[in-house]
């Protein structure tokens, strides 16, 4: 059998590539009402759905039995932290803050599920069980996103 010379290059090679693409996602009615509540009312709405209790942020269907619909319930802007993940060295442009911060799950008063959000200040006092309150983006700057709630702050 004829043999061929090996390729000249033997060190590991790689190529850089970026894959980036824009999207525009429809909220649908349920998520849309929740986000409009943040933007227009500074209120946090949940949905009482089949076999799941009051879900915040609400989804269109029960995750237990797939039933649609439910009763809209306003929950408090205060609640209790159920999980903490502190980010001590944030990555610029990727994380929601350039200063040390914490991702938290907050079970708002009146809700049966916990909402994922951030705590930006007084991290030394933050722990599971801490009481927190929503702080809001100013009027005219709320765009109908989850960050219309700027963050949660620790309540003494």
């Amino acid at each position: 059998m004829k043999t061929f010379p090996k390729p000249a290059t033997i060190e590991p090679m790689s190529q850089r590539m970026n894959v980036e693409f824009p999207y525009k996602r429809s909220t649908g009615e349920v998520v849309g009402r929740f986000l409009a509540g943040l933007r227009d009312q500074k209120k946090i709405w949940g949905l009482r759905v089949s076999r799941q209790g009051v879900v915040v942020p609400p989804q269109s269907y029960s995750e237990v039995d797939a039933k649609a619909g439910g009763e809209w319930v306003e929950v408090a802007e205060t609640g209790v932290v159920t999980a903490v993940a502190e980010v001590t060295r944030p990555i610029e442009g990727l994380h929601p803050s350039s200063e040390p911060f914490a991702f938290v799950l907050v079970k708002l008063d009146g809700a049966d599920t916990a909402l994922a959000h951030v705590v930006l200040d007084r991290l030394d006092r933050l722990r599971v069980g801490s009481r927190v309150r929503a702080t809001w983006a100013p009027d005219g700057e709320r765009r109908g996103t989850i960050r219309d709630i700027e963050a949660f702050e620790i309540v003494d």
Binding site: F21, P22, K24, R25, E29, S60, Y61, E63
Partner: protein, 383 residues
């Protein structure tokens, strides 16, 4: 199939260019709710869920099988996701069928969807691939050379593509779920802008938002259901890598192999005379004559003559795509399952205004990738 499998429920959305009123889960649930209602079932009756859609970059939802699990009623049930590009809808239905045929599941909910308005399928499918020259072609740019090669070797006259498109539009006018339904003449198609030689604007598929869901069941459940089932006589998928030596991109071997396999399993010796209606995957007009040959409905290089004679029209020898097909409705991930589901509706006798008379056997077909994945189901009125 090792054990008989039937389609017992069909549900689809009214397909359109933009469903801004619903999110992906809500759009998918419209089809699911209709399929369950059609089958006389509820989520509790379903044993497993099989989901299919085109690649994630189309809407940018990472792992839709995770995002949709709650909406699809997957709690404490198996859910799997199928990926085979444009053919995925038909492959997904066949994956659901093999799960039923295994004997492990009695009733399966299978769903396929695309919400093209949330992204841009043409350019999302043309990313920069490492190590090779990016073509930035989109599907039309990719498939047009194959159509040119077909015309060159078959000697097909130039108007055939426009005839296909006008006939598909006429059919879509009878399908209340179709996306494009306004009347369109051959002349209008011929006079529309040339996008990718030889494919003109009105000879190409639209971008659609839509979903379809099917309930598939074993023989016992199918016979006890409220409606006449559509029996799956045979189903198969075959694949062909891009650079196989001697590859024929115009009439790929994988497609011909897939067709022969299902005809053999279904006991069909003469598909042109033993099949009464076919829903085949035609995203660009010229693919109709190409697939008529690939599927064995016409001899090599003579598929265009079927179109020229009009034998593929409603009321003629073998109506092709009475639903209006992909040329008029293209929620990509759903498009293959729409072919399969429409074939099922035809043998059930429930296709509405686009019902073909006397259908005993129907074919549903899809292809995907660079004409690399082929997926065919043969549906029959009797087991």
């Amino acid at each position: 199939m090792k054990r008989p499998v039937a389609v017992v429920g069909v549900g689809q959305t009214h397909h359109t260019s933009k469903r801004a009123d619903v999110n992906v889960a809500e759009m998918v649930r419209e089809a699911v709710d209709r399929a369950l209602l059609d089958a006389g079932l509820e989520h509790d009756d379903i044993d497993a869920i099989v989901l299919g859609k085109a690649p994630d970059p189309l809407e940018g939802i990472m792992q839709p099988e995770q995002y949709l699990a709650g909406a699809l009623g997957a709690h404490l049930k198996p859910i799997i996701r199928v990926h085979t590009a444009g053919s995925v809808g038909c492959t997904t239905a066949l994956t659901a069928a093999t799960h039923v045929a295994s004997g492990l599941y009695g009733r399966i909910l299978t769903i396929a969807f695309e919400k093209q308005s949330e992204g841009n399928a043409m350019w999302a499918l043309s990313p920069n691939y490492a190590f090779t020259q990016p073509m930035v072609a989109g599907a039309g740019g990719f498939f047009a050379p194959y159509c040119r090669a077909y015309i060159a070797r078959s000697g097909a006259p130039g108007h055939i593509g426009a005839v296909v498109a006008a006939n598909a539009r006429e059919n879509a006018g009878r399908n209340e779920y179709a996306h494009l339904r306004d009347p369109m003449t051959v002349e209008e198609a011929l006079n529309s802008m040339m996008l990718w030689e030889p494919i003109r604007f009105l000879e190409t598929c639209p971008s659609s938002d839509g979903a379809i869901a099917l309930v598939m069941a074993n023989e016992d459940h199918a016979r006890r259901g409220p409606r006449k089932p559509a029996w799956l006589k045979a189903g198969a998928t075959f694949t062909e890598p891009m650079y196989v030596p001697g590859r024929d991109q115009v009439s790929p071997l994988a497609g011909r192999t897939c067709a022969k396999w299902v005809y053999d399993k279904a006991g069909i010796r003469d598909p042109w005379n033993e099949i009464q209606v076919a829903e085949i995957y035609v995203p660009f007009s010229w693919y109709e004559p190409m697939w008529l040959e690939n599927l064995g409905f016409a001899p090599l290089n003579e598929g265009w003559k079927v179109v020229d004679r009009g034998d593929q029209k409603m009321g003629r020898h073998l109506p092709i795509n009475p639903s209006g097909g992909v040329l008029n409705t293209n929620p990509i991930g759903a498009s293959g399952m729409l072919r399969f589901g429409e074939a099922a509706l035809q043998v059930m006798g429930r296709a509405g205004e686009h019902q073909v008379g006397g259908v005993k056997t129907a074919l549903g077909h899809a292809y995907g990738g660079g004409a690399q994945y082929f997926s065919i189901g043969i549906l029959a009125a009797e087991l």
